[in-house]
C-alpha cells in the first residue's frame, strides 16, 4: 500500500500550550479514514499542517512522499474542505466554483453542476448571504467535484439537515467507488459515517488514542445487559469501559473479544450481548475516565 500521508512525532505548540503532542500515523492510498475526537482535540490543527496552512513546531510530515510546504506537486493533489473556510465578500457561489474549477486539475464540471442541483443551491447568491447549511453544501461540492487524490473534509456538515447529509454520504460513496481516492473525514456524527469508514484514528488532547481498521474495532467492545448479579460475574476480570444499572438490571461495556463458550454461558444466564457502536466506543474512550487505558485495546 502506498502511503499518502506520513506523520512522525509531529508537535504543535502555541507558546507554552501544546496542542499536538508526538503524533505519528500513516494514511494509505484509496481508503476512507475517520479522524475522530472531541472539540479542541487537535483534528483541525493536524489537517491544517498536512495542507501546509499551519507550520508544525516539530516532527516530520510527508504528504505524497514530500514536504507539503510551498510544494505544488503536493498541494495541487489535495482538496481540503473545512468548516472555517473564508470567502471573499464579493464572491457568489458561481465564483467559488469557477475558481475551484481552474485550480483543481481533476475538476469535473458536470458532476459539480449535478451536485448544485442535488443540493438546490442558488448559484447567483453571494457567499455572505448564504445560510450555514448552504455554505457547507458549497464546500461539499468543491470537495467532491475536485476529485483530488487526497480529499479532506473537516466537519463538512455544519448546519446541514439530515436529507442533505445523507445526500453527501451517498454521493461521496458513489463517486469514491468510481474514482477511488484517499478521503479523510473528520466528524462528530460518528454513527452516521461509521459504515463508510475503513480506518479510524481517534485523537484526544493532542495525542493519538486509537489508530485501527474499522472492521477490527467493531468487535472490540461489547455491552452486556442482564440481571445485575450475572452481569457482575460476567464482567469480573474484564476491562470495563462503562457501567450502568437500573433497578435489578445492569449494563456493562467491556473491551476485548468474547469467546464462543463465554457467549453461550452468558446467554444461558440471561445476559444479552451486543457490540458497542463506534460512536459509543469513542465516547467511552474520550470522556476522560478511561484515558491511558487504551494502549491495551490494540
Amino acid at each position: 500500500m502506498n502511503r499518502i500521508v506520513e506523520v512522525n512525532r509531529l508537535n504543535k505548540t502555541y507558546g507554552s500550550d501544546t496542542v499536538i503532542k508526538d503524533v505519528s500515523f500513516a494514511i494509505e492510498e484509496n481508503k476512507i479514514y475517520g479522524l475522530l475526537g472531541r472539540n479542541g482535540a487537535g483534528k483541525t490543527t493536524i489537517m491544517h499542517m498536512i495542507t501546509a496552512q499551519l507550520f508544525p513546531s516539530g516532527g516530520e510530515l510527508k504528504v505524497f512522499g514530500e514536504n507539503p510546504y510551498e510544494n505544488n506537486r503536493v498541494l495541487s493533489r489535495i482538496s481540503f474542505i473545512k468548516e472555517s473556510q473564508k470567502y471573499p465578500d464579493i464572491f457568489r457561489i458561481a465564483d467559488v466554483l469557477d475558481i475551484a474549477a481552474s485550480l483543481y486539475p481533476n475538476w469535473d464540471q458536470s458532476f459539480a453542476e449535478q451536485l448544485i442541483e442535488d443540493f438546490r443551491l442558488p448559484v447567483k447568491r453571494r457567499m455572505k448571504k448564504l445560510s450555514r447549511g448552504m455554505l457547507s453544501s458549497v464546500g461539499i461540492i468543491v470537495g467532491l467535484a475536485s476529485r483530488a487524490p487526497l480529499t479532506i473534509f473537516d466537519e463538512p456538515y455544519l448546519g446541514l439537515d439530515a436529507v442533505a447529509r445523507n445526500l453527501f454520504y451517498e454521493r461521496l460513496i458513489e463517486d469514491y467507488a468510481e474514482h477511488p481516492r484517499t478521503v479523510i473525514l473528520s466528524t462528530h456524527l460518528i454513527d452516521e459515517v461509521s459504515n463508510m469508514l475503513e480506518h479510524v484514528i481517534v485523537i484526544d488532547n493532542g495525542r493519538i488514542l486509537l489508530d485501527e481498521e474499522a472492521d477490527g474495532l467493531r468487535g472490540k467492545a461489547f455491552t452486556a445487559v442482564g440481571p445485575a448479579a450475572a452481569v457482575s460475574a460476567f464482567a469480573a476480570g474484564k476491562q470495563l469501559i462503562h457501567r450502568e444499572s437500573i433497578g435489578g438490571l445492569a449494563s456493562v461495556s467491556v473491551l476485548g473479544d468474547v469467546s464462543g463458550a463465554e457467549r453461550r454461558q452468558a446467554e444461558a444466564q440471561g445476559i444479552e450481548l451486543v457490540p458497542v457502536s463506534l460512536q459509543q466506543l469513542i465516547v467511552h474512550l474520550t470522556n476522560g475516565k478511561t484515558n491511558g487505558k487504551v494502549a491495551e485495546l490494540g
Binding site: 491544517h48 495542507t51 496552512q53 499551519l54 507550520f55 510551498e70 510544494n71 505544488n72 498541494l75 495541487s76 489535495i78 482538496s79 481540503f80 473545512k82 473556510q85 473564508k86 470567502y87 471573499p88 465578500d89 464579493i90 464572491f91 465564483d95 469557477d98 475558481i99 475551484a100 481552474s102 485550480l103 483543481y104 486539475p105
Partner: protein, 227 residues
C-alpha cells in the same frame, strides 16, 4: 492551469475594488471640477488635486485585498509564492492600465487646453515640461509604489497580526515625531521643502527601488503567514 493565474482570476472577480471604485471616484471628482470650470467660465486656472484619489485608492485596495483573498486562496491549496506572484502581477497590470488611461487623459487635457475651461486635472503644473512617456512613467511608478506600500502593511498583519501592526505603527510614529522635532529644532523645514522642490524627479525615480523593497518584504512575510 498555472496557479498564479488562478490567483489573478480570484482578484479579477473583484473588479469593483480594483477598477470601478477608483475610477468612479476619480471621474466624479473630474466632473465636479469641470462643472466648477464651466461656472467660472475658464477665467481662473484650476489646479485640482483630484488626481491623487486614484493613487490613494490603489493603496487602500491592496490593504483590503489581502484580507479578502489570502485565506480563501490558501484554503484552495494555493502556494504562498503563487499567491504573492498573482497578487503582485495584478497590482502591476492594474497600475499599468491606469497609467496608460491617465496619460491618455492628460494628452486630451493638453490638446483641449484644459478641457476648454482652463482645468488642470490630470497633470500637475510641473508635468507640463515632461514628455508624454515621462508622464506615463510617473503615473506608473507612483501607482506601483502605493500598491506595494499597501501590500507590505497588510503583510505585516498577515504575518504578525495585531502585535505586528502595533509595533510597526508605534515605531513609525516615534521616528516621525523625532524627525519632525529635530527639523523644527534645527530650523531645517525650509531646506527640506527646498530640496524636495529641486529633486522631485529623483524622488519619482527612487520610488521604483523602494517599491521593490516593499515587494521583497511582503514576500518574506507572506511566505511565513498562516491562515
Amino acid at each position: 492551469m498555472n496557479r498564479m493565474t488562478g490567483v489573478m482570476k480570484i482578484h479579477w472577480k473583484d473588479k469593483w475594488n480594483w477598477i470601478y471604485i477608483p475610477w468612479i471616484i476619480l471621474l466624479f471628482s473630474f466632473a465636479v471640477n469641470v462643472f466648477i470650470g464651466v461656472l467660472t467660465g475658464g477665467e481662473e486656472q484650476i489646479n485640482s488635486g483630484g488626481l491623487s484619489s486614484i493613487f490613494i485608492y490603489i493603496f487602500v485596495c491592496s490593504l483590503i485585498v489581502q484580507g479578502q483573498t489570502f485565506s480563501f486562496a490558501l484554503g484552495l491549496n494555493v502556494r504562498r509564492t503563487d499567491y504573492f506572484a498573482g497578487t503582485s502581477m495584478m497590482g502591476l497590470l492594474v497600475s499599468a492600465a491606469s497609467a496608460i488611461v491617465l496619460s491618455f487623459f492628460s494628452l486630451l487635457e493638453k490638446w483641449s487646453d484644459g478641457w476648454g475651461v482652463n482645468l488642470h486635472f490630470f497633470t500637475i503644473p510641473f508635468m507640463n515640461s515632461i514628455s508624454p512617456i515621462g508622464r506615463l512613467g510617473i503615473y506608473f511608478v507612483v501607482l506601483v509604489h502605493m500598491f506595494f506600500m499597501g501590500l507590505v502593511i497588510s503583510s505585516i498583519y498577515r504575518r504578525f497580526r495585531r502585535t505586528g501592526l502595533f509595533v510597526f505603527f508605534t515605531t513609525l510614529f516615534v521616528l516621525s515625531s523625532v524627525a519632525s522635532f529635530s527639523l523644527t529644532y534645527y530650523g531645517l523645514w525650509l531646506d527640506v521643502f527646498g530640496w524636495i522642490a529641486n529633486h522631485y524627479m529623483e524622488m519619482f525615480v527612487w520610488m521604483a527601488p523602494i517599491a521593490v523593497v516593499y515587494a521583497l518584504l511582503s514576500y518574506a512575510m507572506i511566505r511565513r503567514a498562516t491562515v
